[in-house]
Structure formats: structure tokens, C-alpha cells
Symmetry: D2
């Protein structure tokens, strides 16, 4: 059935059809031919091939003049499932989504405090359990995308600098998890994934240049530049905790956590509150509550924190020229803080970028993981440039090689 | 003569052949077939087509066993010529290069001090005059790539914020120059071009993530991220003159030129020298000379300047994670300054990036402009993805439409 | 009539009587004896001597039991007159006061814009004209105390660093003025005099350690430490315009006017307003008016200015431990600014000193000059430690030698 | 024997004689009369009185023409003894000195680590034991002057903020020690005493305005202004550890120890060394040793420390205008550090004060305590202004009331 044309050309045709339906939704063959600039015969061949393989399914017929109605095809979303994981120091969230990015199941549990391999096992268990709810085997997943704090070093396959999960740096999370599940795994910095989440289904939709700045226990930034996630030479792009802001640039006390993170991370904010006369032991959440009730120390704390964030945004603006800065994280997304930042920003830069709150909130990382998973499924299943990728029926278990995805091409 | 295969497939084959020869140099058809994974017949057809059109030419025959020698083909470099322009406040440099990026002619003259349209006219005149030296008409050039200080705003086609060339902001440089010459024109920030120059033929060769920081009269940065030039939302990425370093971040005196540029640009350095007891009227060049003869004010000036540059590099490192920082510009490339920066950098960041001097020196921008011109010629002439691009004989004047290149896809 | 006791002892007795009346007001001889612990005979002798010489005069008799009423003596305030001068860049204020510090006449005129000797002549003329109003000759004044911006250098008798009065640095103001009037002259920094004014008749009454910080066109501080005006080695104590606050401490742009003065002096504030979007040409007065009408740029300007003043007060606090900081000057005394400083100060020091507005306002310097003049008259006329000072009748013109007062013992 | 003249006049004569001999050394009566401007008869009476009381003693006769030689009198130094104490966190030094400030005995022991009352008892024991060596009873001492880190609050008689001696803040050191020894006690900040030491017998001799900056475990400054020790409203003048230098002025982490002390105190320096790659556990002494052997981290550490000290000196200069800055303390007196400060200071102030190393080194505080003790003995024994002070024989134990010395008039 396969066309006699060169495989590459056929691959491109397949890709064009899928992309067209992904972009425009259910479509008839005639419309596909019009959009792709291909002959109706070629389109018919391709659609047949995709339907046979299970990627497309007929949705129904267009309403039209009698005798002119046509079958409308949609993506068979269930033909590819993937797991998205957001692994934090306190919480572990897992979702399973389909080819269209619909989250079919989702669960959040406290992270296993024992850390290390126990946490990896917990991740695997959660995935399996969610898969079971959906009556599939975890092995059928096309990919697992796991977001976590810290820098993931592709060379060693270890997660670096993730102080909130004990022992995680000693485990080959990628290897253990993919072996355990029999599914390819991608690990990505959680803030990078949150940026992808906002790009996919948040404020960043259609914005080619923006940054997502997360402020919570730690501080980080995900960069979307010219539409792509920017990672830097060692995966450490966006590690703005190390900006020389909030302390003397030459003070090596800032070398460990970073001068900026030390100043505006959760611990820094809590210390500031105590320094300004607030009661000890207050969490950042308590400080925001105190702010509402007019507590002067809380007000000073938030204002001074905003005064450190604003020059950091100015520095990011001078470097990256983003169209938009999305503030997220448990602290960064607070409207009181964002209001203060917006008010102060024009005092430290002549061209303040637009600052908005993350629309996805604490789910940004999980959504981003799902988005990456969908991308990877699309690329692997329908992508050009992978010459030896035969189109198999989705139900047939894909060989892992088909999805061999290198870390540095995510996004 | 054109093959009956699908145009896209043929286009890809043409591209593969050209890329292979560009990458590996003169090659025989047999080797081309081996490298491209295409049949010898397809290769023969393609080579014939390219040779007929003038893009390839036989270089000679391989040495080999008797009867086994083969014709070796090379790119017909002269089949495409382009002009590269580096338009500065004091100097105007123009080069004409060929398809392989060989600079065939080059000239530098003082920039017309009257500014505005006179400068545009001067650029055109210089191009025409260089073309005449090569016995071609300027109209035959495939493209002109012009680098200049300031931010080029594609929407208005005006050059913003280029304080060193009077009146240039009021001229539609792109329109006037392309109309005047009858050749498509690309305008790009000169530091961005210098970064491209270093990527093409300098320290950045093969480095996927690096920045080029130019320090001269002004301050700027070109960013190569994941191999591509990063421009930001408004073309202002890399405008690190606005980093909140070298002064109070909340001091709006830094709003005009930028806090950092005010501190480390040429005027700032000269003022610093006077403030430290150096004689008034000294140029930065004088200060470096004084440094050699042990002048304490010069020594203090360079050291303090380096102490401001180092945290800026730290800030860039925390944001972009470059593998390398190339320092260029008439001040930035001075080894005394670079030594000082290298010595000081580890005091303000735990992970100092590698710092090197620009290898191209004051020609980095011109080389970059030539590199962009070559890229654009290759893309336009051999690129995929431009479905309506027929391969014409190089001697036939290309329609401008074929090369209609949008600003935001250079590089 | 003069007692046969040692002159020093008599001097001390005279001093004790005068001090007692200055302190407690009109007093009888009996009460004087009681307070001084001296015999009634000694007191009678001393009072007679002082009355004869003209320094005391009987006010009346105490009301008391019949036959027990007593003559009550008061200071003959008119027995000593002095001129106080506040010489500013735009205004010249002169007052003539008596031995009790009553201002008998006062006038303010615009400072002669020609500067230099013309200004000195103007000062002399104003003094003579005021004296004429009081029907005395300027020659009868005991002393002239002149306050002016800048550091007065006793060695050269020139006023250093007073940029607002052209040419004043080239004139020997002290010599010219005292020659012209035939009266001894003291020159003192105007902010120091304002501090003395507040100590004498303002918020500083009875406060042993306080500072007066003037913020207007320029910035300065007068220090009262352990009750005395502190001048430093070169008369430059309190020149807080040079504090390394409001800019990079290593930026020699701050060497001319001082980093802090550059940032918070009148010009700095006006520039800040423009930088924050306020309209150009606004005076500081305009900015405060705009603040009232809710102008955001004005609000940002005042807040940011207060944020620079607060750390300066913290620095002064860490150095001098004043009980109180009095803010004065045309800018410093504005309640909107003081409120902002008070609000912000606890954020930059754990032990913020009390901050109050100058109670004397723009007259603080003139009042201080008068206070110094009264002190000098008292010291010269009644003081111990000047062994050769005979008590002459106040009407007799004092020889200049008697009042030769060295610069570094004022206050 | 007492002259019939008024007691005050006689007191002044006694004072004049003593001062003359203190100032000029052994002197004859004729020379005393000449210098004091008093009659030879008065001088003879006074000298006889002082000799009888034990304060003066004949040294011998002047060499002169036969028949013209005269008895030369000197102070009977042994007529008044006092104890000076320097109580530090690790060492306790005690000296006993005489009326001329000769240290007759001196001892240093480790401070009792139990702190609190044990330390007070240790001080008393050391004084008694030294006195015993000199064959006198501790009760015969005229005064004890004790220097210690921290602010001594006269109102509560407690030592505030002396973190290095546990429990010392809970003890009424003044009361316990004076009760225990039966001798009046003065407590003073140790850095203030070191400043007095330098004024008395160090670099500050004859300098009316200077500061002594101590940098060791902690940071402090003693101020001599117009010849007098300046204490401020709460005894906290010179607490420059709280200068807003070395960190963000608005960072309340600096509220506890002070932003400046946190940055340049011993712990800050050791942390800086580790941050710059030096080995952990190094003491500041080790760092200076490493500096000698060319260790780059040590070099960076000292240079960066000097770069923080220099702006602090600039701030002190702008506030106090000292003629000289004496650097002392175990860190501050290191020549390597002072050289670095001297080199850097002109980069952060246009009028750098002279910077010298403490000449008294670690004994500055003890010397200063002795100097204060001598002053107090002279004031109490020979001073005017204490009307009821009869001159008793030195051997008679003085009533404590005679020496009731209030804290705020030392120096």
C-alpha cells in the first residue's frame, strides 16, 4: 500500500497530514489536500495508511450538500500515552496523558522522605498505579517525562544540585527508572518544564520569547527563546539564583545557593521577616497572611523582596529581551508580590517587560512535562528526520530505539 | 533536464549534494552517493543539473588506479556574490565575498560625518566601487548584509538607538539602500554579527552556546544559543549596557545609555581615569599605553573596569550558561583587561565561564556580515522549505522575491 | 573698687554671677550669693562692678515682706550687639542681636549674582544698614558671625568648595569683611551653624548628641557631640555628601560633588524625577506639589530619595550614635520626605535614631549664627581663661585684640 | 599650712604646679613661678604643701653657678597607683601603674571560660596578685579602669553586646568589682580605650582628631574628636560594625552583628577564604601565612577585605574628618592588609585620610586603660572643679566619694 515515492517524501506527507489535523482539528481529505498542496490521491493513500496503523480515526461526516458530505478524520488520541511527573521535595505529581495532551489520570502524593532510590521506586509505583486505573500497562507508555529541581547533567545521567530530595544525586534516575518501567525516560529541570507548560497551555501560548521565573523554596528560570527552550552549555541556563543581585557580588557567601536565591528564596524571605520584627517561625504563607492583616513587618518584607526581584528581571530583560515575564512558584505567583514587582520595575529599567502571574500555578511543571511528552510522541511517531522510523500500529509496542530521544533535543 | 521526481525530494537531493561539498570540499560523484545514501544515478542527475546551472564545476580528476580516476566537483564560488558592511560611528568597512565566504575585495573609509542619508549613500557608493573593482555590477550581488550599532526594528525598518551616527534613526536604511542598489538588504546589530563572525570563523566555531561581549564606545552582546543567534522579542537581546551593574539599580541616570554601559563604555573608562588622577583628555588607547609604563591611575582604571565586567559576565552566565565568553571591541579585546577579568571572575561566581579574546578583532562584525550573507545565499539558492525556489543559472539575475528574507530568520 | 583678690578668682566670681542671671533670669544679690556659694560681700562687690560697667541693670525690687524686698538685677542685653549672617547662593539674611540673643533687626535680600567681592560688600552694606535702623554704628558690633556653604579653611581664610557663590573662593572674606567693618568676624559652615541653631533654640535644646542633616541644593551635616560642635581635622566633619551611598563606592564620578550629594541633592532629585517619567524642568518644589496630586513619578522620586537617605542616617548612626537626627534644608525638612525616611529607616538599621524635622526651618543657620555670636560675646566679655580680659564698660569700643577668636574654638 | 587665699585660687595654683611638672618634668620653684606667672612666695607655699602631702619630692639640685643651684622637684609617682584591665574573650591582661603612667607590673592569663561572675572574680584576683607583687594592697589603688568588648551602659551598669564572654551581660561588673576590691571602677569599651592608648602613647599623640579602627573577631572604632573620646548618646559611637557596607543595606541579616562586621570580622574573612577556594578551618592567621607563600585564595581574601574596609574609612572620613586612621586589632594591624587598604582607598574617596598601623598593637587597650586611670587620678587629686576635694597625703586612703567618677566624663 505504501507509495512508491521516496520514503522521505512519504514521511513528509504523513507529517503534513498529522500536523494539519493537530493544528486544525478534525478534517476531511479534501481539506487536507488543499492545505498541504498535495494531490487528493496522495492524501487518500496517506490517510488510509494512518488509519490502518491506528493514528487516525473517522469522526463522522461533514454536513454538506447531499452527495457532497465527506468523512472527517481526527487523531486517535488514545494511540499514544505518556506519563508526566513533577517530582518536588515535598510533593510528587504524576499524570498520564494521550496524544492530544489530554490528562487522563492524575495523582499527587507526598514525596517519600527517605529520598534516593525509594523516591525513584515511588515514581515508578505511581506511574504503574495510574496506568492500571486506565487499564493499560505502564510498559505501553511511549515515554515518561520527569521534571525535578536541579540541573540534570546528560553526561552522567545524574540530577545535580537538588538539595530538597536527599540522596537523589547519587542515583542514576534516568537509567533506573527506564529499566524499571521499560519505557524511555526524559529528565528535565522542573522550571524549564513549567516554562514549557506556560508555552503550551498558559500565558506563553504564541509568545516566541518569554521567561518563566519560579520563586519558591528555590529560585529558577525557564527560557523560551525564539520558541525553543534554552538550556545553555551545561543545562544551567536560567539558574538566576546566581545573579549578583541582593548582596555584594564579591561575597562568596552567595556561591553556595547563589546570591539572588539566598536573598529571595523562601528562607531568605522568612529571615527578612524576622529581621524586620516579624515573629520567628513564620512561613512565607504566614507572611502573606500577615500582609493582609496590615502587619508592617510583612509589608516591608514583601516590598523589599520585590525590590530585589525587579533588578533581576531588569537583568534578564537586558540579556534576553523577553516579551513577557511569567512569575510562578509558591511565592512568585502571589498577586501581592507581583503587584509590588510591577510597581517597582519601571524604577530600575527604562523598558520593563510585561510581568504576569503563572496561569497554571503549581501545575505548570506537570503540564509542561505532559507537553514535552506529547511533543516527543509526535516527533517520534510522525517526525521527519528520523529516516528509519516505520509507522507501526499504535497498539504494537514500539521498540525503544524508535523513541531514542536525546536529552538535548527536547522542546 | 529537471528530474521527474517530486520537487521536494529533488530539492533535498540538491541540498544534500551542495552541503556535502560545502562541508567536505571537492568530492567525486561516487563519494557523494556514498555520503548521501542516494543512488549513483540520482547523484549523477543532480550534479549534472547543478553544473549546468553553474553552481558546481569540475576541479579535476582524483588520483587513483588507472581507469578508476573520477571527476571531482567543487562549488563554483563565484556563482554568488554578496556584500558585507560594517557601519560604525567612525569607520565604514565593506567587503564583497563569494559563495564560499572568500572575501574578494574589502575597503574601509571614515564614516561620513554628516550622517543620515549621506551615510546610506556612502554605503551604496562603497559597494558599487568594490563591485567595479571585481568587474561586476552591484546589481548582480545576491544580498547585502549591513551591521550597525543599535537595535534594528523590523517593523519600522529603522535603526533605533544608534547614537554615534547622527540622523540615521530618521532614515529607512533598509528601503533606501535596497532600492538604490536593487539588491535585497539585511540589517543586523553589529555585535550580533560579530558573534556570528566568531561562530563562523573564530573562537565560536563548533561551540553551540557562547556569547560575544563587545566593549568599545558602547557595550553590547551577541548571543549564540543552541547554535543560533538569539535576538529577543524586540531585537534587543544582548543589550547588556542596561544591566543593573556599575551603579545603583534604582538610579535612572542609567536609563539613557544603560547603567553598565555608562560605567564601562569608553567615556566611563576615560572619566574613571581622570577621577583616579589620570590626565584629562586621555583616550582609552592612551590609558592602555600608560598602563604599560606603570601609571597607577591607569592600573586602577583597568582593574576597576574589570571588576564591573566580571559581575556582568557572572550575570550572563547565570542567565545563559554559555560555554565561552568572547570579549571583543576596541576595549574588550585588550589582553590587559581580559587578564584582569579572568583573575577577578572567580571572585564573583562559583562557576566562571571561559573567557577568551576575540580572534577576529575589529573585523569580527564584517566577517559575521559575510557569514550571514553566505548563509542567506545558501538557504536561498539551495535551501529546502522554500517550495517555489527554482534553481536558476547563477548568472541569471535572481528575482528579488526569491530572496525576500525576513529579518527574524537570519542566522 | 576692684577686689584685691587674685584676678582669676574675681573673674570666676564675675562669670558665676553673669551665668547665674543668664540661666535663671533676673535675680537678687542674696539669691546670687546662695547659688554661687560666695559671700554676700563678694557678690555685692561683683554686682556693683558689673552694674558700673554697664553689663547689669536693676530691673526693680522683689515683692516680699515689707523691709525685705530686694533689688533684682538683669543682664543689660543692649550692652553687646552682634551681627549674624546667613550667606547662601540665592539669599543673604542678616540679623543683629543683643547679649541675650534677641534678634533686634533682620533682613533678607537676594544674593548679589556677581559673586566675589561684590557679595562681601553686600554683606557689609546689609550689616551697616541694619545697624543704622537700630541707631548704632556697625563699628559698635562686638562680632560678626557669617555662615556660608562650603568648608572654611582657617589657614588660608578662604571659603573652600562653595560652588553656589561665584568667585567667593578667591576672596579673603574674613579679612576683607573685618577690615571693612572694623569688627572681628567668624566664618562658619552654614550647616554647622544650623546645628548650633537647633541646639540653641530648636529640637537640639538639651540634647548632648545630635546631628543636623541639611538636604537642599547640596547636602551637609552639622554634628553636636557631647554638646559641642564637631569640626574634624580640616573643618570637613559632616561632609556626608561624600558618603559612599547612592552609587558604586568605587565610581570616581562621585569624587566631585560626592556620591551621596550627587544622588540626593536637588539636581539629583530633579534628574530622578525625569528618569521616572516626570516632566523635565520641574523643580524639587514642583515635585513635592506633584506628589500631593498623586503623580506616580513624584511618588517614586521621593521614595527612592528616602531610600538613599535612610542608609546614610544608618551610617551616621553607626559612627556617631546621635540621640536624634534633625532633617533640615529646603528638601530635607519636607514632611513627606521625613515620613518616608522614618518608615524606611528601620529596614536598614536595627537601632534607628529618632528623626525630626528642623523646627527653625530656613532660619536655622541665621539663628545658629546669632547663637555663636552670643556665645562669643559671653566668652569674651565674661569668660575665664582669657587672663588679660579687663571688664570695660560696654559702650567703650572693645579693642579687636580682646575678641581675637580662633576659628577652631567656636561653639 | 593652707594659704589664706580663696580655696579655688589655691586649688588653681596647685593644679598649675602639678601640670607644669607633669608637662615639663622635674622643675625648680623659680621656673615654676616663671611658667605659672605666680609670685615665688605663692609657688613656695604650694610646693611645700604638695611636698608635705607626698605628691612632690625633691629630685636633686640643678647644676648652676655656685650659690645659684636650686632644688628640682618631681612628681612622686608612687603616690598614686591604679589598675588597668583589658578583658577579652580569650585573654585577660592586667597592669598596675603609677601617677606618671609607668606600668609597674603586668600579667596576662587566659580568660576564665566559665564566664560571668567567675571572670569578675578572676579580674579581682589578678589585680590583688599583681598588687601583692608590688607589696601594696589592692585597696590602696586609686582606681581600676577595665576595658572590654561591647557597649557599657552606665544606667544599668551592665556590659551590653559582648558575645565573647559568656554570661558577662548578666553580671553588674562595675558593682561587684568595686565592692570586691573596695576601689572605684570605670568600665569602658576596649576599642575606645585603645584609641585613648594611641592618643596617650601611640600614633595619636598630639593629634586632635583621629580614629582607631579595630578589626579582629569583631569590628569597632574609637573616636578622638577635638582631643576627646566621643561616645555618643548611648555609648555606641564608633560601632561601625553596623555600617551599611559589605552587603545590601536593606538586608536585615546584617542587623545582628552588623553588615560591615559580618563582612570583615574574623569569621567573615575565614568564610571568604573558603569561598575563594581556600581550605576550610583556616584561621585568619593561617590566611596571612598562606598569603606570604603566594596562595591565590589568600590574596583574593585580603584584597576583597581591604575593598570593604576602604569604603568604611571613606564613610568615617566623610562623617568625622579625622586627620588619621589608626588600624589595629589582630587583623586590622596586619601590614599586608594596611598596604592593600592604602592602595585602594584613593579609589573610593577624593580625600583619603592617612592610614597607619597601631603602634601599640595588642597592648593598645591596656595602655589606654592605664592612661584613663592616670587622667582620673590627676583629675581627682589635683583637678579644679571638685570644690570639696582636700589634698590629703597620698598614703591616706582616699574616700571613695572623692573619686566618684561618672562614666560619661572619662577621657
Amino acid at each position: 500500500m505504501v507509495s512508491t515515492g521516496p520514503p522521505v517524501a512519504r514521511q513528509i506527507s504523513l507529517y503534513a497530514v498529522i500536523q494539519s489535523i493537530l493544528l486544525h482539528g478534525p478534517t476531511s481529505r479534501a481539506d487536507l489536500a488543499k492545505r498541504a498542496g498535495l494531490s487528493r490521491q496522495t492524501i487518500s493513500d496517506v490517510v488510509l495508511e494512518l488509519e490502518t496503523a491506528g493514528w487516525l480515526k473517522p469522526l463522522g461526516r461533514t454536513a454538506g450538500k447531499p452527495g457532497r458530505s465527506a468523512v472527517v478524520y481526527e487523531i486517535n488520541a488514545a494511540a499514544g500515552l505518556a506519563a508526566a511527573v513533577d517530582l518536588g521535595g515535598t510533593k510528587l505529581s504524576v499524570a498520564i496523558g494521550d496524544l492530544l495532551g489530554n490528562a487522563l489520570a492524575e495523582a499527587t502524593v507526598p514525596t517519600d522522605t527517605r529520598g534516593g532510590t525509594q523516591v525513584v521506586e515511588q515514581v515508578a509505583g505511581q506511574i504503574e498505579s495510574l496506568a492500571a486505573e486506565l487499564n493499560v500497562s505502564a510498559k505501553q507508555l511511549k515515554i515518561v517525562v520527569l521534571g525535578t529541581p536541579g540541573v540534570f547533567h546528560p553526561g552522567t545521567a545524574h540530577i545535580m544540585v537538588a538539595p530538597n530530595i536527599p540522596g537523589i544525586g547519587e542515583v542514576n534516575v534516568l537509567g533506573v527508572l527506564s529499566d524499571r518501567l521499560g519505557v524511555p525516560v526524559i529528565i528535565e529541570n522542573d522550571v524549564n518544564l513549567a516554562a514549557r507548560g506556560e508555552q503550551w497551555r498558559g500565558h506563553g501560548t504564541g509568545v516566541r520569547n518569554f521567561v518563566f521565573i519560579a520563586i519558591g523554596t528555590g529560585v529558577g528560570m525557564g527560557i523560551i527563546a525564539d520558541g525553543h527552550l534554552l538550556r545553555g552549555a551545561r543545562g544551567a541556563a536560567g539558574e538566576i539564583g546566581y545573579l549578583p543581585i541582593g548582596g555584594d557580588p564579591y561575597d562568596p557567601r552567595g556561591f553556595t545557593l547563589g546570591t539572588f536565591e539566598t536573598a529571595v528564596g523562601g528562607v531568605g524571605i522568612a529571615n527578612r521577616y524576622v529581621g524586620f520584627g516579624g515573629h520567628g517561625g513564620a512561613t512565607v504563607r504566614d507572611i502573606f497572611s500577615a500582609l493582609e492583616s496590615g502587619d508592617a513587618a510583612a509589608s516591608a518584607t514583601i516590598e523589599e523582596t520585590a525590590r530585589l526581584i525587579a533588578p533581576a528581571i531588569a537583568a534578564v530583560g537586558a540579556t534576553l529581551d523577553p516579551e513577557m515575564v511569567i512569575l510562578g512558584g509558591s511565592i512568585g505567583a502571589r498577586p501581592e508580590l507581583i503587584d509590588a514587582v510591577r510597581r517597582i520595575l519601571p524604577r530600575c529599567t527604562p523598558s520593563p517587560p510585561r510581568v504576569v502571574a503563572s496561569v497554571l500555578g503549581s501545575r505548570a511543571g506537570l503540564v509542561g512535562a505532559l507537553g514535552v511528552a506529547v511533543d516527543r510522541m509526535h516527533d517520534a511517531l510522525f517526525g521527519v528526520g528520523l529516516p528509519a522510523t516505520p509507522l507501526l500500529a499504535p497498539s504494537a509496542r514500539r521498540q525503544q530505539a524508535d523513541l531514542r530521544i536525546v536529552q538535548d533535543s527536547v522542546g
